[in-house]
């Protein structure tokens, strides 16, 4: 799914558009707890969209560490400028939607995104 579609489907606004051009997102993962996110280490199933309510810089660093190319912030939270700058520096696309996490997931699932399959270790 193209970033454009994600934006349309979740009526998202673009906070930071620099990233991998033409990226085709296949999977999504939604979590507010960074440790949970860190646990999805799907190796082959890429690329993943990270859906989170965390707006701190740690959400970007989590994305970097997991090779996640795009982050969608939910619940319309204000994202600090520092977070956006860090995303820009690391080439991570950043979007924001006013939908709550549940609705965001529902909309994207309906549109065809799959849950990032996590490897049980």
């Amino acid at each position: 799914m193209k970033i454009k579609t994600i934006i349309d489907v979740t009526k998202a606004e673009i906070l930071q558009k620099n990233g991998i051009t033409g990226i085709d997102i296949k999977y999504a993962f939604a979590a507010d707890l960074m440790s949970d996110t860190l646990f999805i280490i799907s190796r082959e199933e890429e690329p993943v969209l990270l859906i989170s309510g965390i707006t701190d810089q740690s959400v970007v660093r989590t994305a970097v560490i997991l090779d996640i190319p795009a982050v969608l912030i939910v619940r319309g939270k204000t994202v600090p400028q520092k977070t956006i700058e860090l995303a820009k520096k690391n080439n991570i696309i950043m979007l924001k939607t006013y939908y709550i996490m549940f609705v965001t997931c529902g909309l994207l699932y309906k549109e065809g995104l799959k849950g990032a399959p996590w490897q049980k270790r």
Partner: protein, 275 residues
């Protein structure tokens, strides 16, 4: 070739929530550069450097976060050699009064601040334990904590074999690819040579490579059940159209070799062992 070792060090400050993950990201960059620039790491991509880097990153992040969330200050040291990456995080802080408690999933003494940032789920140490190939935790109450973890080259630890991409196998064994539109990036790390379907069903490891001279359609059924991603047909046996069609339909790769089962087995065995 002489073995090369690289060491990176980063200081970590307690309660420095703004920079949580920084030491990990900086280290990760250095490790990644080493993979592409240093002769002895170059082959790492062959052994899935991506998986290695990711597993290392996750452990490092959790360890770094623990110092920031729970301790006063710490030092994050990384030792990189051709076979593994080792992380050592030593801190001065309150220490862990009960390691057993700390290792219980969900147990957390993290502050509200840490929790509001998505940390303090109480699964960090568990994550490290599960993801790393080796971990050692040592702590002294009132003094500090030391955590060591290692990630080894992809799957090296399992049955002593190396995961290989199917396309690498096909290339290395000079096989002829028979099926089209299949995922050549998939990794396998073991093989089973046998022409009796029932034996394969009973004994072949899941997701291994299968070597046979059988070419009838039933081999695809067996491969599907055993989640075998690739069948190598030895002795250049003729493969019926239906078999190929069914393989493609099920996303199974068929590759053909001129040599006999013994020779291909031997070469593949060497490939899996090669370092």
């Amino acid at each position: 070739m002489a073995e090369k070792i690289k060491i990176f060090q980063f200081p970590i400050k307690g309660a420095d929530f703004e920079h949580i993950g920084n030491a990990t990201i900086e280290t990760r960059k250095l490790v990644k550069t080493s993979f592409t620039e240093e002769e002895c790491f170059k082959n790492a991509s062959f052994f899935s450097s991506r998986d290695l880097l990711r597993r290392f990153g996750i452990c490092a992040y959790e360890a770094e976060a623990n110092v920031i969330i729970h301790a006063h200050y710490g030092l994050f040291k990384t030792i990189l050699c051709c076979k593994k990456i080792k992380g050592e995080v030593i801190d001065r802080g309150p220490g862990i009064p009960s390691i057993l408690n700390a290792l219980t999933p969900g147990f957390s003494t993290a502050s509200e601040t840490a929790k509001s940032l998505g940390f303090g789920a109480g699964v960090g140490l568990n994550n490290i334990q599960k993801i790393a190939d080796f971990t050692m935790l040592h702590s002294e109450k009132g003094k500090g904590t030391s955590l060591q973890f290692e990630v080894w080259k992809a799957k090296d630890n399992e049955i002593g074999r190396i995961a290989m991409k199917i396309k690498q196998i096909i290339k290395a064994l000079k096989l002829e690819l028979v099926t089209k539109n299949v995922d050549m990036e998939k990794e396998v790390k073991s093989a089973y040579s046998c022409d009796l379907l029932s034996n394969v069903l009973a004994k072949a490891g899941d997701e291994s490579t299968w070597l046979t001279v059988q070419t009838n359609m039933n081999i695809i059924g067996v491969a599907t059940i055993k989640k075998i991603p690739i069948i190598i047909i030895a002795e250049n046996s003729t493969i019926p159209e239906q078999t190929i069609a069914k393989a493609e339909e099920n996303g199974i790769i068929i590759a053909k070799g001129k040599e006999d089962t013994f020779t291909i087995s031997g070469k593949l065995y060497e490939l899996f062992q090669k370092e």
